[in-house]
Symmetry: C2
DNA sequence: GGCACTATTCTGCATTGCGTAGTACTGTGC
DNA sequence: GCACAGTACTACGCAATGCAGAATAGTGCC
């Protein structure tokens, strides 16, 4: 557990959170992330994140060969992913709280 | 205004916030950041951030030649820095809100 | 005076995550 | 067949963070 993830690895957390809601394939995750407010997220970043997460053993993956387009590669959380999500969420929350503290003294009213 | 800063540039904001409280030199900023809860922040990162911010015209800098050690290079916010802080703080806040929204559906209870 | 230690700054270099751009494949509509 | 949209993926680059180490300026000890 190193601090660099704290500062940069927010996308991982976002992807995990989105997948926790329900399984999704890359293109879909991108769309959901953008709808959630992360409008500037690049698709390649998401694919990369998905792959990293999968490689880290946090995701399951199954291909659905739709008849109306190319196959969709769905991803879903497994136990590792779920606990990673919990941990990361906690880390994020406390990090965000720290930042908000720092900012509180700045923003008067 | 690009999103990459959203995801990565948190340290900039933290440094700006700390400096808004009162001027400080690098070594001191590191200490204050750590005391504030950002324990894993590396000194080189802070020096780098300081330099980048200064180069971007957000900071003033003056050297205080202390008699009890090497000179201290103080940094402080100027108008550019203050408005950068405001902007970044707003961006951060809304980003954090988005993330919290995303996480709300995950963390039951 | 020299040595170790602390405070302080600064400079590589490596890692890594995010983004842009471009490729490839599959189905639909013309 | 061709253009277009949905979908996945790769290659490369940039920027930020971290680690390690050097340099500089004092203090204290011998």
């Amino acid at each position: 557990m190193d601090g660099s993830q704290l500062l940069k690895g927010v996308l991982d957390l976002a992807v995990l959170a989105v997948l926790a809601e329900r399984d999704g394939y890359g293109y879909d995750v991108v769309r959901r992330l953008r709808e959630a407010g992360l409008e500037d997220v690049g698709d390649a970043s998401v694919y990369g994140t998905l792959r990293r997460l999968y490689k880290a053993g946090a995701l399951t993956s199954y291909v659905v060969a739709s008849e109306e387009g190319p196959h969709r590669k769905y991803y879903g959380l497994n136990d590792v992913g779920r606990s990673l999500l919990q941990t990361s969420a906690k880390t994020w929350t406390s990090f965000a709280a720290t930042m908000n503290d720092l900012l509180k003294e700045v923003d008067p009213g």
